[in-house]
Subunit: 410 residues, 2 copies
């Protein structure tokens, strides 16, 4: 199958020196050349060739799309989501407006424990159907690869159920999916007074079975005061590493909790959230291969302060953006809106924001060799926009609340 | 034409004592009864009757919609927009991210003056076509009545062009539209050193023609330091009043500029923006019929502090919400997203936010007798949602970034 798209503006974020290939850091994040009047040929889902319309070769194509007025860019790679869940938590949303904090709601048995009760009560096929509908919805807004976590089971059976749903999504979806094992998302009620018991359950019972069935790509821990501290996180990550699972952890959402440092120490692919980042965290990240991933949708939805993206970028580090799609702190998997949040609240430029959720998203899932840039030989997971009132990439985060994605090509 | 909708959850914000009829103030804003399993019959665009499914009478209907799993609520009334404009301003969006303030951009000839140049260069029919497309888009997200301002002409011809486009939209659209005359949006370049000359132009030349052609419902002024001060505002509003135009003004966006007080003094229908509201502004509004209208979309998009909705509501006042849809400070006319901003950033409850953009929006356009609540005899401008994962009205602002509006009935 050969697909030719003509007369497009083509974002080319694979240009530049070799240092720009695997991820974008610091000033590199501002680089995003655009070919204003271009064509692109995809063959069997792979980018075959592209160039300027003036030099369009004679090609045979099975499908030709005239993209006049439209942009083509690499599909979003959403590297942090909890897309598999059983029920919305709009009741807690109202409680929070009335003044309860996220932590207070968690202490009352709301939050993650609420999602766990609902998930454990739902059968696997309904959970799959709901999750597939959500996946279709985020693909319609341009998401072309995604990570999905467990963590609403909090028991062997529930965690396996979630991971099997994710596996079924992997098998049936048109886009790449990675899964993270997040049993250490919260302590379940029955282990409230026996935290050691829950850690042992994860390490001795869950991990062997999850790894044995090949259900997880990454090991995740919610490293935070009131959840899993640094020593517990370290122990869990070391246990995961024995099964070949690299860490990808929740860090520094509520406090300067040491999560970033333990993630870097344990060679995490990414440390995610980062509302609380100071000089110590920046120093830990400098020189490491660990990706700092920011989740401004959660900060927005919870009404908390935003992540210090400028501090991180200006220190020469990369920044990745992801939605954190989940029923509690960010019930939205809409990446175009995430770009608007990044630009208006985190003061990232449109180029930085788009690099953060394409090539850096791919790097945060170790998919940078096959996704995240327009490059011959990479997967042709592409966004074709609608005709835009302004032919600039800034228009995407600017024109917020409208869906400018005509289709995801994948 | 008789339309019957069955098996719906029906928001009934017309219930309660007589004091609740025209607008909602203070604690009344939290009141929004819901009939969980209801039907509604509309006849020739008017609400004929409604009730509980258990008591559904034998009725003849030309169209029957089975609304299982769906909510029906009054359509949004968006009482403050600049929907008629010629071009996006995504370039200035990038300038702002890089650190320029809204005022600095305005001083450079950007901002409103930029929009004025573009608008004056565009012919009326193209302006109409673009504006109609935007109107269709906001109707698809549930807007069932709207106000549109002039103010990007800043000369007789340009202002008339805008107002004639709005008149044509009024004639052709399926929803009610009100127009506001906002020549006093900014001083045009050629009057920079002759402000008195521009005021005279508005009062002596524009107003007679605008009023003579019946092109405006309201008189608007951008009352703000650096734009039009209190004495100029007062003079303009008094001139408008001679032609029967009630004021509806921009006030207190950037400073405690006295805009609220002059609006109340001049019997304004509403004073809009209100980022800067202290005790003096609350005192001025107390006992007046002037509606305080908040535009959090602009505060969000500009990265400014939000309007103190709680202070206003807790003082027993009403609050109206509107989008401020415009190409500079809020390029979005998406009311569901506005509800999310109101709940997460202004800490309004979902009930308060929905009353603010239905019955209070209607009051801010003097349409409260025909719109804004589910009440027999009112226009059947209704929102029918998609089937919702949670059958609560909180789900609408909670599930942000997704369009849960199946259709606008009007």
């Amino acid at each position: 199958m050969r697909l030719l798209i003509t007369n497009i503006a083509l974002l080319c974020n694979a240009e530049g020196p070799a240092s720009l290939i695997s991820r974008r850091s610091g000033a590199e994040m501002s680089v995003m050349p655009c070919m204003p009047d271009a064509w692109l040929l995809a063959e069997n889902g792979i980018i075959h060739s592209f160039g300027s319309m003036a030099g369009l070769p004679e090609v045979h194509a099975d499908v030709v799309i005239d993209g006049t007025g439209r942009l083509v860019l690499p599909a979003w790679v959403d590297s942090h989501t909890h897309l598999v869940f059983a029920a919305p938590r709009d009741g807690e949303f109202v409680d929070r407006i009335k003044g309860l904090s996220y932590e207070e709601i968690a202490r009352r048995g709301g939050g993650i424990l609420n999602s766990a009760r609902r998930l454990n009560a739902m059968d696997e096929s309904e959970l799959y159907d709901q999750s597939l509908a959500r996946l279709d919805a985020v693909m319609a807004t341009g998401t072309g690869a995604i990570e999905i976590k467990s963590g609403y089971g909090l028991c062997l059976e529930g965690e396996l159920k979630m991971l099997r749903v994710i596996r079924r999504l992997k098998e049936n979806a048109a886009i790449p999916i990675k899964s993270s094992f997040l049993a250490a998302h919260a302590y379940p009620v029955e282990y409230k007074e026996n935290k050691e018991g829950y850690l042992n359950l994860i390490i001795d019972k869950m991990l062997p079975q999850v790894a044995g069935e090949g259900l997880a790509d990454y090991m995740d821990v919610f490293c935070e005061e009131g959840f899993f501290g640094v020593p517990e996180t370290e122990r869990l990550l070391e246990a995961g590493a024995k099964y070949g699972l690299r860490p990808k952890i929740h860090a520094n959402q509520l406090y300067h909790s040491g999560g970033v440092q333990v993630g870097v120490r344990q060679n995490a692919v990414s440390v995610d959230h980062l509302e609380c980042v100071g000089d110590a965290e920046v120093a830990a990240l400098t020189g490491s291969s660990t990706m700092p991933t920011l989740l401004p949708g959660a900060a927005f939805f919870l009404g908390m302060h935003y992540q210090p993206a400028r501090k991180i970028i200006d220190a020469g580090l990369p920044v990745c953006l992801a939605t954190d799609y989940n029923p509690g702190s960010c019930p939205s998997g809409n990446v175009p809106l995430l770009l608007t949040l990044a630009c208006t609240q985190l003061k990232m430029s449109p180029e930085e924001a788009i690099n953060a959720v394409t090539i850096n998203g791919a790097a945060a899932l170790e998919l940078e060799k096959e996704l995240g840039t327009i490059k011959v030989g990479k997967r042709a997971n592409l966004i074709l926009t609608k005709p835009l009132a302004s032919p600039s990439l800034a228009y995407l985060p600017y024109d917020y609340g409208n869906n400018n994605i005509e289709r995801l090509i994948c």
